[in-house]
């Protein structure tokens, strides 16, 4: 448990350090150090959980079990690799004159602020604090979306702020209803603790919980980017600095889904019906299909991949909604591989748009000739995210499909259609960017592609053969969520 406290303290220290110290040339490297130490702390935490099982802190305010511990490690890992990418990237943006020292100082401070909010969402045992941290994540990132201060970025940030703020207010109403149901059976101060709620789930009033879940799903669903609440997501992802897009896509969306799944476990326990599951399946499938269609009509490379994020989050929501061991296992795995692949893609996209000097896909051409590393990175990343074997995304999508065929066979063609549409939508844009004629005067940029290589190698590894301990881990989490494990 000390590791969890340490984790929160490190990020908190990071906020203060960057806010107070001012921007220097090596600030980016110090940010890498902060995230590296966080990563070590999470690994320590994971080993503890692995040896001792679920950890509950003495005052019961923190809970780490097999479900959230892997997300904590994933969060720290992507936070770390993205910080490696962000250091030269932001330095380059400053050289271009887009940013000042003052704004970079805020950027690094809020980077840690965002990480703190994410760790708090994942480790807290209190559903109310989870909400507070989720809102905190919005507040930390909203000024980063408008970091460039262009009219577009300010508009995107305002939209993000208002839509997510109003959306997440619905989740607070849901949490209040949950608390209202909980105080009827137990003591006040502890009634919002997840561990207490979960053990007493069958005593909670099912009518109240059904209403509560609708609000919780809409609230956190806004953050997941579920259609029709997704409007803020492509704007925020495309107008902010690219490292932010990588962590928003790879982490924030996951953690919002995590909050929904935690609540679903409670609601299912109380209502003994599939009402929560059906809602998630409906919203998930709608997001999946709509986002796949929108992929075709994009002109901005970062918007393209944010729609792809909506599509994948829709698929995960659908799979979690379906429930059952196989679907849950697939959804957990998809969370991991999607985060890894998507943040790798955003890293290459960042470099590609620095290379071409624009985010407009019509003007990005001939990447593979100008700088083969970036071209190949983008191509392989897209192949992976589109769900080609042998990458991990294929495995998890295949498992989702298998589970669908098992439980709802008539939905399987719809899923296949969506995957096909998304594949076509991605490749019609990627093909000319990677292979097309190289514009004159396009020069290679300084790029650090190690994060991309590591992420894609991991995804490949998970596609070829899931490492035993990881499969075991997913299995345990599945047992926790769905009751039994498919392994």
């Amino acid at each position: 448990m000390i590791a969890a406290y340490l984790l929160l303290l490190i990020s908190f220290g990071g906020i203060l350090y960057f806010a107070l110290s001012g921007h220097k040339a090596d600030t980016g490297k110090i940010n890498i150090c902060f995230n590296g130490v966080s990563l070590l702390a999470t690994i320590w935490l994971a080993i503890n959980v692995f040896n001792q099982g679920t950890l509950l802190s003495e005052d019961k305010s923190f809970l780490v079990d097999s479900f959230n511990v892997y997300l904590i490690v994933l969060t720290a890992f992507i936070g770390f690799t993205t910080s490696i990418f962000s250091s030269p990237y932001m330095a380059h943006e400053k050289d271009l004159g887009k940013l000042t020292d003052q704004r970079l100082k805020m950027y690094y401070s809020m980077y840690q602020g965002f990480m703190l909010a994410m760790y708090l969402v994942l480790t807290t045992n209190n559903m109310g604090v989870m909400w507070v941290a989720m809102e905190g994540a919005t507040l930390a990132t909203v000024l980063l979306v408008s970091l460039y201060r262009t009219p577009e970025s300010i508009e995107a940030a305002w939209k993000y702020f208002i839509l997510c703020g109003v959306g997440i207010a619905q989740a607070l109403f849901g949490t209040i209803l949950l608390y209202y149901a909980a105080v009827q059976i137990g003591d006040g101060e502890n009634a919002l603790l997840w561990s207490v709620l979960y053990t007493n789930a069958d005593k909670l009033n099912p009518e109240i919980l059904e209403i509560a879940f609708v609000f919780l799903l809409i609230g956190y669903g806004t953050k997941i980017g579920l259609v029709p609440l997704h409007n803020w997501l492509p704007d925020a992802h495309s107008e902010g600095p690219t490292p932010m897009s990588a962590v928003l896509s790879g982490l924030l969306l996951n953690d919002a889904l995590y909050a929904v799944v935690r609540n679903k476990m409670l609601v299912d326990g109380a209502t003994h019906s599939s009402m929560a599951g059906f809602l998630m399946m409906g919203f998930g499938l709608l997001s999946f299909l709509v986002a796949a269609l929108f992929l075709h009509r994009q002109k901005d490379i970062k918007r393209l991949f944010s729609y792809s994020s909506i599509e994948h989050m829709g698929l995960m929501t659908f799979a979690f909604g379906m429930g059952g061991p196989l679907a849950t296992f697939a959804a957990l795995m998809h969370m991991t591989v999607h985060s890894l692949t998507k943040s790798a893609i955003f890293v290459t996209v960042g470099h590609a748009s620095q290379l071409a000097g624009t985010q407009s896909m019509d003007k990005i051409r001939g990447l593979i000739r100008t700088q083969p590393k970036i071209g190949w990175g983008l191509l392989i990343g897209t192949v992976a995210i589109a769900g080609f074997p042998p990458f991990g995304v294929f495995t998890s999508e295949f498992l989702v499909l298998l589970a669908t065929m098992h439980s709802y066979p008539w939905l399987a063609p719809v899923l296949l259609l969506g995957i096909g549409i998304a594949f076509a939508g991605l490749f019609r844009h990627i093909q000319p960017m990677v292979y097309g004629e190289q514009p004159e005067g396009q020069l290679p940029v300084k790029a650090n592609l190690w994060p991309v290589i590591i992420h894609l190698a991991l995804v490949l590894w998970m596609g070829l053969a899931i490492p035993g301990f990881l499969a075991d881990w997913f299995g345990q989490a599945t047992t926790l969520i769905a009751g039994s494990s498919p392994l």
């Binding site: 209190n126 809102e135 300010i154 492509p234």
Partner: protein
């Protein structure tokens, strides 16, 4: 059940709920920003009174803390900040011509009915005051959204946003006698940070489009043309 048979506390809470709902409607039809902010502060004051009343009748010390927080944030800090923005922008003489005012009002009334409808399933298991309070707070949340839809000024949007928070807070106080202290402090912290960020944003939006009319924030489209 007749209202005269309830105890004094329940009657007072029900009146408060009615007044809070009324302030939401007042805000909805308000085209002048300064008056909008004033009604918002009034709603905050009603919330403070409700919280203090609950704290007194339940003898719960941490509700006093909530009451002080509400007073400081929703009655003093945020309204003053917004007021200064309006005066600085010299917008206090403008009246926003609200389109379809009648339709918006009827929409607001329907939302209130809708809130009661949504919470109908819990009538059997809850007392009258709970159902009423929850329904009123849900309708304050929904009316806040309607306020944001029907007004164009960024300041009105912030008022709508904060009034949504008010609705949630009212639900927490009345239905559950306040959330656990740590959650309440967290929410208050988030509201404070949000208010400060809104202040920063007004400045950015003003320098970017030279106005606070959010209809002019229209560069980004779902499908690019």
């Amino acid at each position: 059940m007749n209202i005269e048979q309830q105890d004094f506390y329940t009657q007072a809470i029900l009146s408060m709920a009615a007044l809070v709902g009324l302030t939401s409607f007042l805000m909805l039809g308000q085209g002048r920003l300064l008056r909008l902010i004033f009604v918002f502060a009034l709603q905050g004051l009603l919330l403070t009174a409700t919280t203090a009343l609950a704290a007194y009748s339940l003898d719960n010390y941490h509700l006093y803390i909530s009451a002080v927080l509400t007073l400081a944030l929703k009655v003093i800090f945020i309204p003053i900040m917004l007021r200064r923005q309006v005066l600085a922008m010299n917008m206090h003489r403008d009246t926003e011509a609200l389109k379809n005012n009648t339709a918006v009002m009827i929409g607001g009334a329907s939302l209130m009915v809708f809130s009661y409808y949504v919470l109908h399933p819990i009538v059997q298991t809850s007392s009258v005051v709970m159902v009423n309070a929850l329904a009123v707070s849900l309708s304050v949340v929904l009316l806040g959204m309607l306020l944001m839809i029907s007004h164009r000024q960024a300041i009105a949007h912030v008022v709508g946003f904060m009034s949504i928070e008010n609705g949630l807070f009212f639900a927490a106080i009345v239905a559950t006698n306040g959330m656990p202290l740590v959650v309440e402090l967290g929410v208050a912290f988030d509201v404070l940070v949000a208010a400060v960020l809104f202040g920063i944003f007004f400045f950015h939006i003003r320098t970017s489009i030279d106005s606070l009319d959010v209809d002019r924030l229209n560069r980004l489209h779902e499908v690019e043309k």
